[in-house]
Amino acid sequence: MNLSGVRQRTAPVLTIIIGVTCAVGVLVSMLAMGTGARRQEMANILADQAALITPGARYGQSHISRDDVAAILGLPGVQKGTEGEPIVVFQSMVPIEGRRRVTGNRIYFPLIGITPTVTQYQPQMRFTGGRMFKPGLHELIASSPCVRQFTGFEIGDRRAIHGSDWTIVGHFEQGEAQQCVVYADVDNIMSAFSRNTYSAVSVRLQSPAHFAAFRDAVRANPALQLEAQRQGEVAEAGFKELNAILDFVSYFVGIIMAIAATLGAVNSLYAIVDSRRSELATLRAIGFDSGAIVVSILVESILWAIPGALLGGALAWVLFNGLSASPFGFSFQLAVTPSLVVFGIIWALGMGLIGGLLPALRAARVPVAAALRAT
């Protein structure tokens, strides 16, 4: 019943909606960074993938000796590949310098020495051009984001690494991953960089349920100073730091903007209540009690917050969903998911509720006689 007078108070209502739109839009867009980064990190990970790491080291920074290879290949629960070999991937990672296509800026990307079993370890890995590297040759294959972002990754291009030329022979896609990676034969990389330890070892298990047997076998082998973890947990742990920063920044900015928007809403609602003094007094005079008035103002305040929230979520989706961002050196696509939008709406309802409280109380306390006498 109290919405009938909307036309006379367009400006304050618009103020509430715009304030809420901005606050929700910014919060949802910023949280979309974290969601996008997480989605990308987890997208290519299968439940049957596990990793062996040096206790205490981050993934990719382990030191796994060549002497352990035979013991690792003999572990139980590991899936067998097409030629009967266990699907175990030995890696050695070296950051390499590249140049951005548009700006010409230098940037680092990982050159990963890897065993050819990687194609069976990552079933979503697909060649878009060229072929797999041949073991023993100085050949590289690059993921398609490299080709898009950096110069010097066309098939046939040569890169000088430690005094010898390495040729790009293939391009591949890795599902949703947006990161540029370059693969080469692991033994070649290790001899070129005079390394004697692998920096990461991953395996594909027969099924996710085989993990317990696999982990126990690693523990039971005293020669292996290693720890087995599910690949999902490893990614989660590696991602924790970035996630914490993104979340902190998002909520810090989001809360401050929510406070500002709520203050704006309070002011607008006071204005609305003031302009309706005689109307509210009439309602009270004809028998509505102050509880009903409070509820009606609160409902109105929440009602104005909802279009703001929807608009904010929609704007975040239109402007930022799928946009590539690379803060803190990671690059990923922002993901505005339905659950984020729902969170934005709840956030806005909170703003509406808190913002409506004081004006609602004032409305309920309008002295009937005085308000009715006023023009």
Binding site: A260, Y270, S326, G329
Partner: protein, 381 residues
């Protein structure tokens, strides 16, 4: 000046509304201060990074590859080079795997300090020269673990010694401070010669060379000359000044700048709209009073100015308050992004933005107030 009481009473006509606007603007500008301060702080970090200090590392990458110590003479003979200092870096842990430290192995030769951003007391350097297993610890780190001079600290590493052990121990001989924000907090300096003789693999190699040059303006020429000397060899080098390195590091947070700009403009636009409607509302309520002022002989111009000055005054005061709040918050923000500070420029920029937003949002209401028809306004039509 004599109109001040009039404007003052205009501001406090509805104290509740003014207080709310004041709070809203304060909060918005506190956010403005923190975000903008972050951005400007980062730019200052680049500006402060030394341009006369070059880092010579392998052309392949900065962190992981090594160069032979033999390049030392070749680099030193490049014209313009003052001091060359070999640097080897490795990671270690203290007591448990979560307490990570960085170890920097250096040669405390004559003049070595000018090739670093460290400040160390002279007797600590002398002590390091005379103690093979000596270590100079960064100030914060000493406090963190309560170490003192003379302590023997065992570290776990992944670097094997000749005897096969990967545990190393060093004797604390002094402390240092570092003006470079990228230097890392938990770092200790040790003797390169001792480390190199004692380790099992990769002997005679360094991560990079620090090079101090005589004229910072020649940084690019000297860097190019060094790289030219070793081009096409198995140890091609890549030389950057500390400033260039800071720049490329901060490019990775380049998208953050876009984000900050976007948020700040969204906040200002929302604020603009909110104040404009509030001023409109206020003018509508004050129509009779404004008409009385006009009847008393105040010109249209004067009324216009009253309204604009009212808005600007509230905004400037609130923005000042918000920016002061940001200054208080900043020490916490700089814990997450080390080495940042909020320069005065940000405060000035914030105040200018506040005045602009206030003036623009007051424009329409002020025009309306100035154009008021006295007779109609007094009759409340």
């Amino acid at each position: 000046m004599r109109y001040l009481p009039l404007i003052w009473s205009g501001i406090w006509r509805k104290p509740g509304r003014t207080n709310l606007i004041f709070l809203q603007v304060s909060v918005a500008f506190a956010l403005f201060g923190v975000l903008q301060g972050l951005k400007t702080g980062v730019e200052h970090v680049i500006g402060d990074a030394r341009a006369d200090l070059l880092l010579v590392h392998s052309s392949l990458n900065l962190m992981d590859d090594s160069l032979p110590l033999g390049l030392f003479e070749g680099i030193r003979s490049v014209p313009g080079v003052r001091v060359v200092a070999p640097v080897e870096l490795f990671g270690a842990t203290y007591q448990n795997a979560n307490q990570k430290l960085g170890v920097v192995a250096i040669r405390p030769d004559e003049g070595w300090l000018s090739a670093f951003t460290y400040s160390i007391a002279p007797d600590s350097v002398t002590a390091l020269r005379s103690t093979r297993t000596g270590a100079i610890i960064r100030e914060g780190l000493v406090k963190k673990y309560g170490w003192k001079v003379g302590d023997h600290i065992p570290l776990m590493t992944t670097t094997a010694q000749m005897n096969g052990s990967t545990d190393w121990a060093f004797d604390v001989v002094g402390t240092y401070s570092d003006s470079d924000v990228g230097g890392g907090a938990d770092v200790l300096l040790i003797n390169y010669d001792y480390f190199d003789e004692a380790r099992f693999a990769r002997r005679g190699t360094v991560q990079h060379f620090n090079v101090a040059i005589s004229d910072p303006r020649l940084a690019v020429n000297v860097a190019d000359e060094i790289d030219r000397r070793f081009a096409n060899s198995a140890n091609a080098t890549r030389t950057d000044s500390l400033r260039e390195l800071a720049q490329s590091q901060l490019q990775t947070i380049g998208d953050l700048n876009f984000l900050i700009r976007a948020i700040v403009s969204v906040v200002l636009v929302a604020l603009l709209f909110a104040t404009a409607t509030m001023m409109m509302q206020s003018i509508r309520e004050r129509t009779p009073e404004l008409a009385v002022l006009k009847t008393l002989g105040f010109t249209d111009r004067a009324i216009f100015l009253f309204i604009v000055v009212e808005a600007v005054a509230v905004f400037a005061a609130a923005a000042g308050c918000g920016l002061a709040l940001a200054l208080l918050v900043f020490p916490f923000a700089s814990k997450i992004v080390p080495g940042l500070s909020m320069p005065f420029v940000v405060v000035a920029l914030g105040l200018v933005c506040a005045v602009l937003v206030a003036a623009i949002s007051a424009l329409l209401p002020a025009v309306r107030a100035a154009k008021l028809n006295i007779a109609a306004a007094l009759a409340r039509r």
